[in-house]
């Protein structure tokens, strides 16, 4: 029998190493693979394609004896069968650092194609795919690449933003831990397209397993992407370094303070040189696009949101995990049909989409389709597509206060609306929670939010008003 258990951080945090050791002690070889992304079932044991989970080490003898309760064929599980897995095509199936597994499962096809058709046609394919930046801003990747390709400089860079700090997001982590060669392939294609010989992957320090796996994969594949050269750089616990200009300063060895734009990083980026800064998921989508064609990717999705989005179902949700799907699916389908509602069994009060800077959305708006423009029209953000589900025990005034507190803790201090506004926001919300001058303080918060939204240099101060004001707008009863 062929036994596979994930070595992704979620599986390990839930006890996968003990389960794997129990199989090994019984004399059974275990392949440590990437995670299928069904996090509520981790540790998930895959025996010849049949799944058992969640499993504890004590359950192993009965599974070996054929008496385990299975979830059936994993690939046919409704959570998996309903997805459009393009980026997560290998999830659950390959050993992350095995070049053999990567080759055998459509690896390196995109890079081979890019080398065959050349830089210009590679950029054309990315433009045709309609791929937009998956980090949150949604800027068309092909246009960014074209700008860097057109810039004249002796040195250019490809920088991968792997500073995935938003709560409810883990897709970048899963790519780096589960399929690191795909990232490397995507970056090598980007380097070829724009004429950059050096790439940096900036990974947050909270992801030690992703750092180790990316480094191992870079060493194992250096000869395959040469002369393109890659290096991992490790963050140091600053959320704001997920903002691209702050990330560039951090890479240069400076305080992670935001830079004013212009100049755009595409013109003057790392060390003043033309630089592509793309999110992990953006770069990870590229190998598939090159191998299958931009039009094939654009056939998925709706409107100007083409392709698929690895949605992350998180928080108080029964079936949480990674759900890659074409744009256009509604929140209701994601939260109820796929996610199964709350884990606590209580009613869903709201979801927060897009991490700590995303809006809180009540169930009355769950018909909203996953689409950049539709979300913007509803005063909300897709961001990095993390969805945090809350049940009816949540206190929205406390969540609004936390949004301001988080901004105050993580503000880089460069601009006043963010640095001071966040602290004044915490104080004002505390007054409201204490029942002091509520109407007047709510007016102050609205005014402060306007100032932060339009006066901040980057999304940290600029978007913190989204969770604050959406909480007040949709749940006024929590602020009385």
């Amino acid at each position: 029998m062929r036994v596979r258990i994930s070595d992704d951080a979620v599986a390990v945090a839930c006890g996968a190493d003990d389960v794997a050791a129990a199989f090994a002690n019984a004399g059974i070889d275990v392949e440590r693979v990437s995670s299928w992304g069904m996090h509520w079932l981790e540790p998930l044991v895959d025996i010849d394609g049949i799944g058992y989970g969640p499993i504890a080490a004590d359950d192993v003898p009965s599974i070996i004896a054929g008496k385990g309760q299975s979830i059936g064929r994993i690939a046919d599980h409704p959570f998996i069968a309903r997805q459009n897995r393009l980026t997560f095509i290998r999830a659950g199936k390959t050993r992350p650092i095995s070049l053999y597994d990567y080759y055998a499962n459509q690896g390196w096809l995109g890079l081979a194609k890019a080398r065959e058709i050349g830089a210009e046609a590679t950029i054309a394919a990315v433009l045709a795919s309609g791929l937009r930046g998956r980090g949150g801003a949604g800027f068309p990747a092909g246009i960014k690449w074209k700008t860097v390709a057109g810039a004249i400089a002796a040195q250019k860079y490809v920088v991968c933003n792997a500073d995935e700090g938003d709560s409810a997001t883990f897709a970048d982590r899963m790519v780096m831990e589960g399929d690191p060669f795909m990232m490397i392939e995507g970056m090598a294609i980007a380097g070829l397209a724009v004429g950059a010989s050096k790439g940096y992957i900036y990974i947050r320090s909270e992801y030690p397993r992703a750092i180790a796996k990316m480094q191992a994969a870079i060493s194992a594949s250096a000869h395959l992407v040469a002369p393109f050269d890659l290096e991992v750089r490790v963050g140091a616990g600053a959320y704001v370094c997920g903002e691209e200009t702050s990330l560039l300063n951090s890479l240069e060895g400076k305080r992670g303070e935001v830079r004013a734009k212009p100049p755009l990083p595409a013109i003057e980026g790392l060390f003043g040189k033309p630089t592509i800064v793309n999110n992990v998921l953006t770069l990870a989508a590229v190998p598939w696009i090159l191998a299958n064609g931009g039009e094939a990717y654009a056939a998925y999705g709706m409107g100007r949101s083409t392709g698929t989005m690895p949605v992350q179902l998180a928080g108080n949700i029964k079936h949480g995990g990674l759900f890659e799907v074409a744009f256009g699916i509604t929140l209701d389908e994601l939260v109820h049909d796929i996610g199964g509602g709350t884990d606590s069994g209580r009613p869903v009060r709201c979801v927060q989409v897009g991490g700590p800077l995303g809006a809180y959305i009540p169930p009355s708006q769950f018909d909203l389709p996953f689409d950049y423009e539709a979300f913007a029209a509803a005063d909300a953000l897709i961001g990095h597509a993390g969805i945090t589900v809350f049940d009816d025990t949540v206190d929205m005034a406390q969540m609004a206060r936390f949004a301001m507190e988080f901004c105050a803790i993580e503000s880089c201090g460069k601009c006043t609306p963010c640095r001071l506004g966040s602290t004044r926001g915490v104080e004002t919300l505390e007054q409201i929670i204490a029942g002091k001058n509520v109407a007047k303080n709510l007016e102050l918060i609205a005014d402060l939010s306007e100032t932060m939204k339009f006066g901040s240099l980057c999304a940290l101060g600029g978007f913190t008003p989204y969770p604050v004001m959406s909480a007040i707008r949709h749940f006024p009863e929590d602020f009385q």
Binding site: A9, V10, V12, A13, C14, H39, W40, E164, G165, D166, S167, A168, T169, F170, D172, R173, S205, E206, P208, R209, R233, V234, G235, A236, G237, A238, Y239, S250, L251, E252, G253, K254, R255, G256, E257, F271, Q312, L313, A314, G315, N316, I317, G320, G321, D343, Q352, G355, P356, G386, T388, V389, F390, D391, V394, M399, F402, F406, I409, E410, C412
Partner: protein, 136 residues
């Protein structure tokens, strides 16, 4: 040669080496001392203020040694939705382990989550967190 000089030598020629150097210094000594900052500043032709500014900007770097074991407990939204705030009294009822907040470990569907060193923990409740604190 001092241990810091060894670290500096390893990063010779690297682009933008300050953060990698600081990580290595902290890994070796557990913190970044004033002496270390002075030596790094000299080697990189920076002012001490510039190096201090970087050390103090990032949450990861410590300017003093921490003798206690450290547990980073996630206090971000997804772990709040899964009940981490109810575990706080337990962490405050002891002082043997330094419990620090962290904002997201990427384990957002199986929280409350925590990390000690490079080891990650999930599905924490009072019993499991209590056992974890005792084990550190």
């Amino acid at each position: 040669m001092s241990a810091i000089a060894d670290i500096l030598a390893e990063h010779n020629g690297q682009e933008g080496p300050l953060l990698p150097i600081l990580h290595d210094v902290q890994k070796t000594f557990g913190y970044v001392s004033e002496d270390a900052m002075r030596e790094i500043a000299n080697a990189l032709n920076l002012t001490r203020a510039e190096v201090y500014g970087v050390v103090s900007f990032y949450h990861d770097f410590r300017k003093e040694a921490e003798a206690r074991p450290v547990l980073k407990l996630c206090r971000a939204e997804a772990c709040k939705a899964r009940g981490v705030e109810a575990l706080i009294p337990l962490t405050e009822g002891q002082s043997r382990v330094k419990v620090e907040p962290v904002y997201c470990l990427g384990l957002c569907a199986v929280g409350p989550a925590a990390m000690a060193g490079e080891q990650v923990y999930a599905r924490l409740d009072t019993r499991r967190l209590g056992a974890l604190l005792d084990s550190l």
